[in-house]
Amino acid sequence: MLTKDQIAQRIAKEVKNGQYINLGIGIPTLVANYIPANLEVVLQSENGLLGIGPFPTEDQIDPDLINAGKQTVTMAKGSALFNSAESFGMIRGGHVHLTILGAMEVSENGDIANWKIPGKMVKGMGGAMDLVASADNIIVAMQHCSRSGESKLLSECSLPITGIRCVKKIVTDLAVLEIAKEGGFILLERAPGISVEEIKSKTAGKLIIDGEIPEMVFE
């Protein structure tokens, strides 16, 4: 099983040179640590910053400079600041190439649920609905199963959904999967030591297994 950092590390391989990327809160934030140094990419923060830099040192901290997770950040070289309408114009207009975010459930047709659990206090969707409705490429980082062991890869989401037919790829602690155009989770890679059988047993939605499934390789 992959650690959170390994999930982030695997997702970082999906990043292409020249991309503008929005990273959600949690595991997605960790992806930044694993993007190869030879790739030039720009991280967008939907609260109004293009070009997120590393976290600040104590003496660099600026309360007027935070990311969408409300963490203090710095600005990378060549960054730009803007208002929230411009920021979501970028997202909605398809200028952000890649969105990486967490999920509570993903369905086999690419629906995602990540904002609301009935009966629990609802905190709100923030920018998630805009992001999933807009980006061309959406990758989900999540655990394959819930703490109680139930699959989070379903034929249909049971929780209120955040967006429909939007997820392209999923990286879990067990596998890398792609959403098939006609529906279904195409198994692309296994986590080291995890069998196809185990993934099969932990995937409630339709799993598509075509040929030999390679193990992920970590450098």
Partner: protein, 231 residues
Amino acid sequence: MIDKTVKNAFEAVADIPSNCMLMMGGFGLTGIPENCISAILEKDISGLTIVSNNAGVDDFGIGLLLKKRMVKKMISSYVGENAEFERQLLSGELEVDLIPQGTLAERVRAGGAGIPAFFTPAGVGTEVAEGKESREFDGKMYLLESWLKADFSIVKAWKGDTAGNLIFKGTARNFNPLMAAAGKICIAEVEELVEAGELNPNEIHTPGIYVQRIFQGSNYEKRIEQRTVSK
């Protein structure tokens, strides 16, 4: 140039009545109008509807207005960093209208720019779409969303001049310029107020036409929610 200066926060918010609609700039605790919030706290009003991306924390920002039970309804994209908020919501004392953040930003922008409605893809197929008109453009579905306007919008800028021109700093800009334009009366508090003519016209984020009142604030706390540092 028209002089928009008022003496202080108390004068700026003096005529805000009960049961009106307010917009407040800020994302998290960054760029919130701290001085005006303090001045409103001193007023004997209630039943406010507040449009703000977030609702502050228990003891800071809009959380203070919630604690004093001045708020009837929040229109936000993400709330619940505070326990009192949750208590009031669950007990039915407080209403909340949750809106996708980009839709919220665009609805406020539309309010300021005289666009009564527009189509956006956010929320298609979700409960946000319930009761809304949907339509397909170029093979993709969109929802019709309407403008948001307010009786008063309260914003916080870094620098401002007596003509009401504003410059924001860092990510404290966020919703502030959009809300400035969407309030019938816009109140701007600034860290540094200068004479008209001292700001570079090319660097202004909010032109003074949107601002009706401006004053220099003081004692900014600028509380940090997630102090995250590099080793």
